[in-house]
Amino acid sequence: MYARAHEDRYQHAPSDDDTVAGRLGEALVADGRLTQGQLAEALQARTRTGSTLASVLIATGAVRRRDVYEVLARVWGRPFIDLTTTELDRDLLRSVAFEELVARHWLPVRRLPGGDVLVATSVEPSRELLDDVESTLGGPAELHVTTEWDLSRTVIRAHHDVVADRATMALWERDTDQSARQVANRTQKVVGGVSLAVLVVLLVLAPRATLIALSAVGGFGFLVSVAFKFVVCLAGARLDWFESITEEDLAGMSDEDLPSYTVLVPVFREANVVAHLIENLGALDYPPEKLQILLLLEQDDDETREAALASRPPETITLLTVPRGAPQTKPRACNVGLFFATGDCLVIYDAEDKPDPDQLRKAAVAFDRGEESLVCVQAALNYWNAEENALTRMFTLEYSFWFDYMLPGLDLRRMPIPLGGTSNHFRTAALRSLGGWDPFNVTEDADLGIRAAALGTTVGVINSTTFEEANRAYGNFVRQRSRWIKGYMQTTLVHLRHPVRLVRTVGWRATIGFALLVGGTPLSFLLVPPLYLAFVLSLLVPPDALSPYFPGWVLWVALLNLLVGNVLMIYVSMMGAFKRRRYRLVPWALLNPLYWLLHSVASYKALWQLVTRPHYWEKTDHGLSALGGGDAGPADRAGDAVGPAAPA
């Protein structure tokens, strides 16, 4: 079980045997900082969850973090040191790698007049710790106690340039081919350039034959892509009655067995939603003493920081400043969060997310019974403002189809799953082994899901939902979608750099599935305008007029796409809405052809940006909904219900 399996080096709470707990409790009561009743409750929680008494007291808000550590310092017989008011020897601090400082929970503060080094630690200053410190520093040291918050903040302040560099460059330095820092490698550039040149030459020399060939390839590709999505959806639909994590499963995992959990919430210019975020995270049903919530704030985003502080976050939420650097992307912020994550498991939420309260527990069960190769589970995403306007309706239809049919279908077929934005739950150690997120990839989540598969690990899905705010503004939608599509293009280029290696690792089926899903999606959207244009033209001219450009089988494939492909995609969209009990949205699925046109606008923008600004992060504005974060009702949550959700 996790409580026993987690790595000591990431244990963040002070060690806690019965003696220490007893003395800590007595001292806090004696100081008048805790009542006997509160102590009794905290001790019960400690027994129930297997957490330390200090963690329980801090997480429940019974005692302030600083007070706990001050008393602990007394219990441990060491002085307390306030790092926010202490002068630091920056050179000394930087003499130890920041990863070491984070992992070992101590840092050198300054040299004392006698030559000893004053060292601050947030764990019990034992003999072993002192030996470790002195062997690292090469001389005698004197241990003082501080809070783990102050420790982290000091480390990040002193090593901000290193933290920024590691968060940005670690994956690139590990394996350049796994990073989207270079859009295409040399081989890809050569192949792409030659292909483009040949295409231009052919268009000049034999325009009609070239257009026919392009039309044939495009039509066939579209058909295959639609067929693939449809087959995967059907597989997903067959899981209607399968509930991956049941109530019994949840009941079978006691609080003590639950792993410690880190929640990363990258926020940027989201002062308007940060108060909601804190409220939503507070609704998570998880022992607070096992939660570490890191609110990742960009260094220059004072507005959001002030809003977060003004909302008086609980002790379980830590505001972590992401050092300034480029590219200023969400994955870069997440990498910083990953450095300081102490949980056995880790999840990402966006600022506007409303996860199901039991989502962390479900993920914990999934990991507990999963094989070691299961590194990530994805929860479904859906929208709480589904019926706000036409765009939110279409967005909700799309998400219902994607998360309720496509991803479970991919899971069933053991194919790579492109993770979806938020609510990706990881085993923290495995995530570190994968190299964290690629800060140069603007759909770092999809990339990570595919990288996980490419490295021989697996990603699964759980029957839990996070509700988000659907984009209600068309310009905002195109911005957001262009980023997603650009990210899919980046991901395709990254993972097809070594196609043979990919096939060897994940097999033919999964490779083709990846190519069709991640590579095929942008291509399909790019093909939409020419296909629509051809359709409109075909209606305006006599049937035979276009036959020189659509000879024989090319025309057959085009008609198949028109009459069967469109119908199938509309139909799965209808079914997705039906499963979610969004009955009013079902007829809206008929408008999908117009919605796809919007995607194609975004896809051309994405293609342009892939060339001109490959790493630019198109920021999506949140908090635009006029509904103001309405509650997701039971019908909305139907995708996770026991069995299917249809007419009930």
């Binding site: 019974r369 035979d544 009955y583 249809a646």
Partner: protein, 366 residues
């Protein structure tokens, strides 16, 4: 606790290879029958018409003038692809019989019906000469009714068990069936329209649920028909002429009342249909509407002159009866069902068959 990979609804047999072996095994008697049909040179005008339309298909051509004669596209397309004329159509029909019977067997097995009773119940459908006749002599109608029966299985799950996969199955199969026989569109519309009534208790207080259910059930079939209408309009200038032509093959000229009498009279020869209906009334009265819904479909289809006959009525209603067999039947219920199944085989052989197309067909074969 071991990791339980996601899995779909229980299938029978679990192993896909075994499943296909069962389907193939169930097809074998009809393949033998198809061989006999070919051997004796007994070919119906229905398959002959399909074969003739198939010959007109110009595969890969840039012109589509022939679409005005190519409805229903799936059987006509099969006829166009396969050599050996009507013989090939008989073989395809025989092959389709296996998956249809397997879907019925699978449902019965999943509902823990005792094996001997499964055998008798399946015999009530499979051993009727009308089934063999349709399979080997009317590919278009047989494919449509086979798809309809499997769609009905999904429909029942969709409206009574709230299983969206059942909705998928029903809607999609009705859509494919619409490309096999236009009468399927009537069934799709009727099933769609009936769904809210069938599941009235479920829908209470849920706005738009009924409309959504109807859309899920009817959309693929309607889209298939409209798609075909577009093709025909675009390339031959007519609208649904080919559909109407194919639909009136067996037009009886009955008015609605006469069509209803014909259908009702045929049901009188299907004791199993009545027994299963009675059992359903006792156990799940709300599901009775779904059970009876194909009846108006058959009546309307007959009235409109669409491609249905007594053979289709027998197979559809017999199949439907099997879909409604209660789970884990008691000894008494099993006995009742067994007797009804045997009686139905006897009645269909002795009473229905001699008066229908299948009678002379049997005489020619044997």
């Amino acid at each position: 606790m071991p990791w339980v990979p996601p899995r779909r609804r229980d299938r029978w047999p679990r192993d896909p290879i075994a499943r296909w072996a069962v389907r193939t095994g169930l097809s074998l008697p009809y393949l033998a029958l198809a061989w006999l049909v070919v051997e004796r040179g007994v070919s119906s005008r229905l398959n002959a018409a399909t074969d003739e339309a198939g010959a007109a298909v110009e595969w890969g051509a840039s012109t589509f003038g022939w679409v005005s004669e190519a409805y229903p596209p799936i059987p006509v397309g099969i006829a166009g692809v396969l050599p050996w004329g009507t013989a090939a159509l008989s073989v395809v029909g025989a092959l389709a019989a296996g998956p249809l019977l397997h879907s019925l067997v699978e449902r019965l097995v999943r509902r823990d019906v005792p094996v001997p009773l499964v055998v008798l119940l399946i015999a009530s459908v499979a051993l009727t000469p009308l089934f063999g006749y349709l399979a080997t002599e009317d590919l278009s109608g047989f494919l449509a009714l086979a798809l309809l029966v499997v769609a009905l299985e999904g429909f029942l799950r969709f409206v009574t068990e709230a299983d969206t996969e059942g909705g998928f199955q029903a809607g999609l199969l009705l859509g494919v069936a619409a490309a096999c026989d236009v009468s399927s569109v009537v069934f799709a519309l009727l099933l769609g329209a009936s769904a809210p009534f069938v599941a009235r208790a479920r829908y209470r207080g849920v706005p738009a649920a009924g409309r959504a259910t109807a859309a899920v059930l009817a959309f693929p079939a309607v889209a298939a028909l409209l798609g075909w209408a577009f093709l025909e309009w675009r390339f031959s200038g007519t609208v649904l002429d080919s559909v109407l032509e194919a639909a009136t093959v067996e037009h009886s000229g009955d008015n609605l009342g006469e069509a209803a009498v014909h259908v009702a009279r045929t049901t009188l020869h299907l004791p199993l249909f009545y027994v299963c209906g009675a059992l359903l009334t006792v156990r799940r009265p709300a599901a009775l509407i779904a059970y009876l819904m194909p009846l108006p479909g058959l009546v309307v289809a007959a009235w409109l002159g669409l491609h249905t006959g007594a053979g289709a009525t027998v197979v559809i209603l017999s199949g439907l009866a099997l879909l409604a067999v209660p789970a884990r039947p008691s000894r008494g219920v099993a006995l009742l069902l067994g007797v009804a199944a045997v009686a139905q085989v006897v009645v269909v052989w002795l009473v229905v068959t001699p008066n229908r197309l299948a009678g002379p067909w049997i005489a020619l074969l044997f």
